[in-house]
């Protein structure tokens, strides 16, 4: 995948706080999940602390030190509570 943006999906409580469920987020080059979460917290201070949030990239759970690339689908959410 390539491009100059990532497709960001917000779920559950996170979506309620951002008041948006999906948005395109400009991204020129690779960035770590942790660094991107810091940017997310700047745009949406109501999400603080974003360290507690989980990320999935292209529908796979990832650790905060994983790299996000332009073109990725990035989902942000609280720890899951299914079952």
């Amino acid at each position: 995948m390539s491009g100059t943006a990532i497709n960001v999906l917000y779920f559950a409580q996170v979506a309620e706080l951002t008041q948006v469920r999906q948005e395109s987020w400009p991204l020129q080059g690779p960035i770590s999940g942790a660094d991107w979460l810091a940017q997310l917290e700047q745009r949406y201070p109501q999400l603080a602390p974003t360290r507690r949030l989980k990320l999935a990239v292209n529908q796979f759970h990832v650790r905060p030190d994983s790299v996000i690339q332009p073109g990725d689908e990035v989902a942000v959410f609280e720890p899951v509570t299914g079952g």
């Binding site: 999906l9 779920f11 559950a12 409580q13 999935a56 529908q59 796979f60 759970h61 989902a75 959410f77 609280e78 720890p79 899951v80 509570t81 299914g82 079952g83």
Partner: protein, 152 residues
């Protein structure tokens, strides 16, 4: 087989079909069913809304079932999970494992529901009888239980 759907499921029919598919191979069939219950200690639950991440849910649960199939000597693993608006006592989730022997079936079934609870992207929002709404928080005990399966 993995099914993620809004509508209710017939666990008896699912067991009958699984029994038919594994007839002669499986000497044991273990099932787990999860229902909506009162979560809050002091006020009755009125309804439960289950939000999910379409696509990733199916992918993640399939991966969990595939892990169970490779880790234990089981013939088939079936998992069904609902989403959307559910009410008290409704069925939420169903796991069924067919195996030659019961020990392997019990282990695989417990692994699948434990892993599903901490990996499948679903989020529960509870509405109490008084109208209050809140998002259910993941229990530390659930995370620890899934972690135990990763120990050698």
């Amino acid at each position: 087989m993995v099914i993620v759907q809004q509508h209710d499921f017939d666990s008896a029919a699912l067991v009958a079909q699984l029994r038919e598919r594994t007839a002669g191979k499986a000497g044991a069939l273990v099932t787990f069913t999860g229902y909506v219950r009162d979560y809050a200690p002091d006020q009755a639950t009125q309804s439960l809304f289950l939000e999910h991440y379409p696509g990733m849910c199916e992918r993640e649960i399939t991966e969990i079932c595939d892990t169970a199939l490779s880790r234990w000597d089981v013939a088939e693993v079936l998992a069904v999970h609902r989403y959307g608006e559910l009410h008290l006592k409704d069925q939420i989730v169903f796991v069924a494992v067919a195996s030659a022997h019961r020990g392997q079936a019990f282990l695989a079934c417990e692994y699948v529901i434990d892993a599903l609870k901490t990996r499948a992207p679903f989020w529960k929002r509870e509405t109490l009888a008084g109208g209050d709404r809140f998002w259910v928080q993941q229990r530390e005990a659930d995370a620890e239980k899934t972690e135990q399966w990763n120990q050698p």
